[in-house]
């Protein structure tokens, strides 16, 4: 039995309805029925012109149009989404910018003073330039940048801590005293940050308080090195407190980023095997486990 024109139109519309899935959902909701209506009109036009050649031409035209316009619609939707995110984020306060950038600057200066290799200097200059563009010029950035900032901050802080411990060891100071000299300023910074940015309504704040109290309560039972490691663990959370005012739960990206160099080292060198890299640029990626 021959197919009736109405059946073919119904089938064509069903196929076009599926093809419309290529467009972003918002575009489909708004213009999907209108595009279907237009396709129906074009189909009837092609049938009036008669011949399967007209229908074939229509499909070619519609398919080319679909590829081009769906890509443009996705690009436009992504652009609108990015713009909306950029408008939501308020500029970062200068003090927070300095808080994040300062450790990196100190790290770079220390490495340059120690006549570091060109690779370290180039890396540092590149990172500093990126940080400058992201934080100082633009002063607003996507939450994803928090992950990278956390990693940079943590790597810089750990390296500075490591360098200080190394310097102190050359002065023949007892191991416990060395840890006390490192952990004391660390804990002062952690407590000061926690106190200044206390927010009883924030989950992150209570996680910080719980961690700090646990560390202090268990302090008599543990060694000073454990206490300094606890300080290092709490520091990203303390630094995340001012960020959480602006970024909310997305601050977790910063904290995860901060812990990642430590985790990476732990996974790569489970037996603390990073000692041979001491003094080279690889110290950037060494965790406190090296000391």
């Amino acid at each position: 039995m021959a197919e009736r024109p109405d059946d073919r139109l119904r089938q064509a519309i069903a196929v076009y309805r599926v093809l419309l899935l290529a467009y972003p959902a918002s575009h489909r909701r708004e213009y999907g029925p209108l595009m279907l209506q237009l396709f129906r009109d074009l189909w009837r036009d092609a049938c009036r012109r008669s011949g399967s050649g007209s229908l074939l031409k229509l499909w070619v035209r519609v398919l080319i149009d679909l590829v081009v316009s769906a890509s443009a619609a996705h690009w436009q939707a992504a652009k609108e989404k990015l713009m909306a995110v950029a408008h939501q984020i308020t500029p970062m306060p200068w003090r927070n910018v300095l808080l994040i950038v300062a450790p990196g600057v100190v790290f770079g200066l220390v490495k340059m003073q120690a006549a570091a290799g060109w690779l370290t200097i180039v890396t540092f200059v590149g990172v500093a330039a990126l940080a400058f563009v992201a934080l100082v010029v633009q002063k607003r950035f996507s939450a994803r940048v928090l992950l990278v900032l956390g990693m940079l901050l943590s790597a810089s802080l750990l390296t500075i801590g490591f360098l200080i411990v190394e310097e102190l060891s050359s002065l023949r100071i007892a191991r416990e005293t060395r840890h006390l000299l490192v952990s004391l300023p660390l804990w002062v910074a952690v407590v000061a940050l926690g106190w200044k940015h206390r927010r009883p309504q924030s989950m992150l704040y209570w996680a910080f308080v719980l961690g700090a109290v646990t560390a202090v309560v268990l302090a008599p039972l543990t060694t000073l090195s454990t206490l300094s490691i606890a300080g290092l663990v709490l520091l990203p959370i303390a630094l995340g407190l001012p960020l959480s005012r602006q970024y909310g739960t997305r601050t977790l990206l910063f904290i995860v980023g901060s812990y990642s160099p430590g985790w990476a080292t732990w996974i790569t060198f489970p037996d603390r095997g990073c000692r041979p890299y001491r003094g080279s640029q690889y110290t950037l990626f060494c965790s406190s486990g090296c000391s």
Partner: protein, 121 residues
């Protein structure tokens, strides 16, 4: 407080061929999607054939930019399909169209004056 600066007609130039032709056919009066498509085909002697995606993608951008607006006015209620949406030019759209036509006229005058097209310069 930062104030948002409203773009002028020249700020949105040059227009894409699709947007320019849609503005041009809407300058004649209110039309729905299919009528716009047919009018563009006739105007360009079928050299520019807009697909449904390109047409409604352009209409969406033009609505956002304030070049056109939806019209409640239905030209002939007896011939009309109530599911259709009608569009018309806004005053800003008219200014943009005028600015684009002036820009293109200037380019054509320049092209005609060059030796390439048999001009005197």
């Amino acid at each position: 407080m930062s104030a948002t600066v409203k773009p002028g007609p020249k700020d949105v130039l040059p227009l894409t061929p699709a947007v320019f032709h849609i503005l041009l056919v809407l300058a004649e009066g209110t039309k729905h999607g299919y009528a716009i498509m047919k009018a563009v085909e006739t105007l360009t002697d079928r050299q520019l054939q807009l697909g449904p995606g390109t047409l409604y993608g352009s209409i969406k951008r033009m609505l956002t930019d304030g070049l056109i607006e939806e019209s409640e006015e239905r030209p002939d209620p007896y011939l009309d399909d109530e599911r259709r949406r009608y569009y018309r030019l806004t005053p800003f759209g008219q200014q943009v169209l005028r600015a684009e036509v002036e820009r293109l006229s200037h380019l054509i005058r320049f092209a005609q004056s060059t030796r390439l097209l048999g001009g005197t310069t």
